[in-house]
Amino acid sequence: MNRMIINTMLILLSMSVSMLAWATGTHYEIRVDGLACPYCAYGIEKKLTAIDGVKNLKVDLENGLVSVDVSDGVVLTEADMKQLFEDAGFTYRSMTTSHPDRDQDKTQ
């Protein structure tokens, strides 16, 4: 009986961990040119975080990288990102996506 309860709890725990991982959705790393100062990069933060489901924005000025996590079901397309960074005053170069739960990388 005790063994059955422990097994059930382990299954439930593993399902919870898997659902949490699924909830992290997709991680995007976007290469941007022209990022020289933090103040000027605020437009990027404003525009990206205005998209529903975008969170955990990070800007790496030294390497010209902008990274965000997006909820499952939300997709950032290359065309959209080109326009978004142009509107923010910078040049989009490339984008890498990863799915933390599936450990799967894809370069667009």
Binding site: D33, G34, L35, A36, C37, P38, Y39, C40, A41, Y42, G43, I44, E45, K46, K47, K58, V59, D60, L61, E62, N63, G64, E86, D87, A88, G89, F90, T91
Partner: protein
């Protein structure tokens, strides 16, 4: 009334300073599309016994990622032989970035600026505005990297005639600016850039009732140390213009110094 009283303060807040632009000179910065910049600022100028202070608010809107437009609403306070304070001349401006070259951590760009100043100042003496409309055209180039900054700008201001038959001389302004970020900071950390500007001003002789005035116009050069401190979407810009060379026509007071402090929010 002294002619100097008409001219005094006319150079303060002479062009909008967007984002990482120099404090006194002209830079190529615009604003992200849909962005709003609110920039309250205070400028002060001292010429011998006269001191003038101008408070202003500059509001700018990013029409596209390369095109911004805005309005300047000044409040002027003059102290000297007579005192007067009130609203100054309202200005509207637009800036277009026509060239941009981006690489990793570096942005080079060039912009043109157009500005119109209207005769909207309050009455009394000394006058709080020039009493006339004026137009300004500017061209600026900027190089910005993680460590080094450099800008070059030229502006030409054409002044109209006021209702007393006085026309202030047109003005040509040249700016060469260098800047350095001594400490590399992350996006969410306070960031400081130190600036040194060389600002040159050549002013034509003023005209009264068709006659060119002997005691007007000339050339002045300023060296202007400044600082640009930012935290995310908030910036503080400050600088002092110190006159280092002066060749003014006739008998005119030389500028002792000018100082400017700008607070700036990007929303």
């Amino acid at each position: 009334m002294k002619i100097g009283q008409l001219i005094f303060l006319s150079v303060l807040i002479i062009s909008p300073a967007l984002a990482h632009d120099p404090v006194f000179g002209l830079g190529p910065h615009v604003l992200f599309k849909g962005g709003v910049e609110i920039a309250p600022q205070i400028s002060t100028e001292k010429e011998q016994d006269e001191r003038g202070t101008e408070l202003g608010v500059e509001l700018t809107y990013g029409i596209t990622g390369d095109w911004a437009a805005g309005v300047e609403l000044p409040w002027v306070d003059k102290n000297g032989f007579n005192n007067n304070s009130g609203p100054g001349d309202l200005s509207v401006f637009s800036k277009y970035r026509f060239w941009r070259r981006d690489s990793l951590g570096v942005q080079q760009s060039a912009s043109i600026l157009g500005k119109l100043k209207f005769d909207t100042s309050g009455g009394g003496l000394p006058p709080l505005g020039s009493g006339s409309t004026a137009g300004l055209l500017g061209l600026a180039y900027g190089y910005e990297s993680r460590k080094w900054y450099r800008w070059a700008g030229v502006r030409y201001r054409v002044n109209g005639e006021n209702n007393r038959g006085f026309r202030q001389g047109n003005k040509l302004l040249l700016d060469l600016v260098g800047g350095i970020r001594l400490k590399m900071t992350a996006y969410d950390e306070p960031d400081t850039v130190w600036l040194v500007e060389l600002n040159g001003e050549y002013t034509d002789r003023s005209v009264m009732d068709g006659n060119r005035l002997a005691n007007s116009g000339g050339t002045e050069w300023f060296v202007s140390p400044g600082i640009f401190w930012t935290l995310r979407n908030f910036a503080v810009k400050a600088g002092v213009q110190i006159a280092v060379a002066s060749d003014l026509n006739g008998d005119q007071p030389e500028t002792d110094y000018r100082a400017k402090l700008v607070l700036e929010w990007h929303l």
